[in-house]
């Protein structure tokens, strides 16, 4: 009957209840839905970071990350292959690459690029580059002259498939090596910067150009989702000679993104509290108005034998019902919006330049984090009840005579 009474009391003034309910609904909706969008943006950034040749874990020669020159390459790939096969969990994928800075040029343009020598079949399993993202032809491991470049670079060079592109870099003899390639495919990536930066050739073509033999720049590893990359990285570290090799997780490789992620959780929760503060004023105001309007009634209830604590409880019941209703509607609305965007996402192509700068994907798909939904709802229900205590205590503190005399 207490809940029954609270329910009827909140509908005494339907307009006021609707207003505060709307505030709670918008608050919860924005926390859950916009939170999911922000999480989706972060997930997109992580996915981009990992798939843009990073992987979950990378293995390099000691010093390569500080000075990515050809001398800092790994020279014993067969030993590495055996160690990785023994150490990595089932379902893991890995590939080796040759990766050097180079200058690309054609008749009219030149630009600094990163030349990546890949094993085409293996690379397609672990990074963004692969046949499905290629216009034209993807690399074949026996192709010594084909090159795949990004659409942005293609447009910058005003060239097209079938045309020649020359790459220049330093070889193992510290001499300038150059090689002409034929553009066979164009790739598209989430970020324009990726399309400008990377050009892909086969491993054997890179070896020939740079005069390398049995030498690789990096190994990139993707592990199954339910595994902890830090633990696996440390397992690999244990078996590799530390003076020759470095093993890094993506969190260590993409440290700016990692730092941003760490801050992001705190920003989310601060934002939740800020949204609540706006909502909280509405709750306090509405509850106070409802309490003052019913002061005589509280006097009557006290006269009938209601203890002060019971009065507090009855006011809190009303706030609780309002909050629960608002939360239910807000969550439903948020999940409906998330569902509506789950297929096509939000296209931010028109903001691509700016989004690129922050490493944000062109299309954002909302991503629900159960923890965020839980925290958003807990913030609203717990703080909502806490702020309702003030008007409830005001109602309980009046003596019956004072309350009954209230006009």
């Amino acid at each position: 009957m207490h809940i029954h009474l609270a329910w009827r009391n909140i509908w005494r003034n339907p307009r006021r209840t609707t207003v505060i309910l709307t505030a709670v609904v918008i608050g919860i909706w924005s926390m859950v839905f916009l939170g999911a969008l922000m999480r989706g943006m972060m997930t997109g950034m992580i996915d981009n970071g990992i798939s843009t040749l990073t992987g979950d874990i990378q293995v390099h020669h000691k010093g390569y990350r500080n000075d990515p020159v050809i001398e800092n390459s790994m020279t014993n790939p067969s030993m590495l292959k055996k160690i990785l096969n023994d150490t990595l969990p089932n379902g893991s994928q890995w590939t080796a690459r040759i990766r050097v800075n180079a200058v690309a040029n054609n008749a009219r343009h030149y630009s600094g690029v990163t030349m990546v020598g890949i094993n085409p079949a293996q690379e397609a399993k672990i990074s963004f580059i692969g046949p499905e993202r290629i216009q034209g032809k993807y690399l074949d491991s026996m192709d010594h002259h084909g090159i795949v470049i990004g659409r942005e670079l293609l447009e910058k060079f005003e060239t097209r498939i079938g045309k020649k592109l020359v790459l220049m870099s330093q070889d193992t003899n510290q001499e300038i090596a150059s090689r002409a390639f034929k553009i066979i495919g164009i790739f598209t990536a989430e970020m324009k910067a990726t399309e400008k930066q990377f050009v892909f050739v086969t491993m054997s073509a890179a070896e020939k150009m740079l005069k390398l033999k049995n030498t690789i720049s990096e190994i990139s590893i993707i592990i199954p989702e339910n595994h902890n990359n830090s633990k696996i990285a440390s397992d690999i570290r244990e078996v590799l000679p530390p003076k020759d090799y470095e093993v890094h997780t993506w969190q260590e490789l993409l440290h700016i993104l990692t730092a941003y992620l760490e801050m992001f959780d705190q920003f989310m929760y601060i934002w939740f509290v800020v949204v609540f503060i706006a909502m909280g004023f509405g709750i306090v105001n509405t509850t106070l108005m409802a309490v003052y309007e019913r002061m005589r009634e509280f006097g009557l209830l006290k006269a009938l034998g209601m203890k002060p604590w019971w009065i507090v409880r009855s006011v809190i019941y009303e706030s609780f019902l309002l909050l629960i209703m608002g939360m239910a509607i807000g969550n439903l609305l948020a999940f409906a919006c998330i569902h509506a965007l789950s297929k096509n996402g939000i296209d931010l192509s028109y903001l691509a330049e700016g989004a690129d700068y922050f490493g944000i994907s062109r299309i954002i798909f909302p991503d629900i984090f159960f923890q965020d939904v839980l925290v958003a709802n807990l913030v609203v229900i717990v703080l909502g009840i806490i702020v309702s205590i003030y008007p409830a205590v005001r109602a309980a503190r009046f003596t019956p005579v004072e309350a009954l005399a209230h006009i």
Partner: protein, 229 residues
């Protein structure tokens, strides 16, 4: 046996900068089963005395005992408990909870007492039948006349068998016919169920019905008349 014992009750109110002495050392004993009217003009102190007897207000000095319990060292919660179990109230206006039906209003006190739902509902309906409100169980207060609302209030006041019912000007907002009906009903309750009724009133009809009439003037008992049956 006295159900109420008041000794040397003093009460002063502050009205702005003026102190108003509402009660000046009033002593009053009320026997169980009484039907008493505290009468007097407005401002005489009758409602203040009724509120003090009901534990709604506290005396500045003096002692109050209701149903053998002294108010001296009781806190708000203990007073609320005493009101819940031993005292019934009927007010002049705003007597009922507007969002509850007649039956739910009657049930409410029993709910606070922790009586199970089935028993509450049965007793509420029986008492509403007794006060002549059969078929009005589900009406909200706004759907009842003033007299019917007061009957619901009386039903609520007596449903949990309190030791005493305090009624503050219960007929003030009713026409004389309805007021008379209400008084007849309360008299019947008094006779049949031995419920003690104490009224504060300046309504002559209530004074006529009362078996004992305590006249209060300027915070003092002017006269204490016990009528012969």
């Amino acid at each position: 046996m006295n159900i109420v014992e008041c000794t040397e009750i003093n009460k002063t109110y502050q009205q702005g900068k003026v102190e108003v002495q509402a009660l000046r050392g009033i002593s009053l004993n009320i026997k169980k089963g009484g039907f008493i009217a505290l009468a007097g003009p407005s401002g005489s102190g009758k409602t203040t005395l009724l509120n003090i007897i009901g534990g709604l207000d506290h005396a500045d000095s003096g002692t109050v005992n209701v149903d053998g319990q002294s108010f001296d060292k009781m806190n708000q919660s203990q007073l609320a408990n005493l009101r819940l179990h031993s005292i019934g109230f009927v007010f002049q206006s705003y007597n009922l909870i507007p969002v509850l039906s007649a039956a739910e209003n009657v049930e409410f006190v029993m709910l606070l007492q922790g009586i199970p739902a089935a028993e509450r509902q049965g007793r509420a309906r029986t008492i509403l039948d007794d006060v002549g409100l059969k078929d009005k169980y589900d009406r909200r207060p706004a759907e009842l006349s003033g007299g019917q609302q007061q009957r619901v209030a009386v039903a609520r006041a007596i449903v949990s068998n309190p030791s005493i019912v305090l009624a503050d000007e219960p007929t003030a907002n009713l026409d004389s016919k309805t007021g008379q009906g209400l008084l007849e009903m309360m008299k019947k309750m008094n006779v049949e169920k031995k419920v003690t009724f104490v009224f504060s009133t300046h309504d002559q009809m209530v004074m006529d019905y009362a078996r004992r009439l305590v006249l209060i003037h300027d915070g003092l008992i002017d006269n204490d008349l016990v009528k012969k049956n």
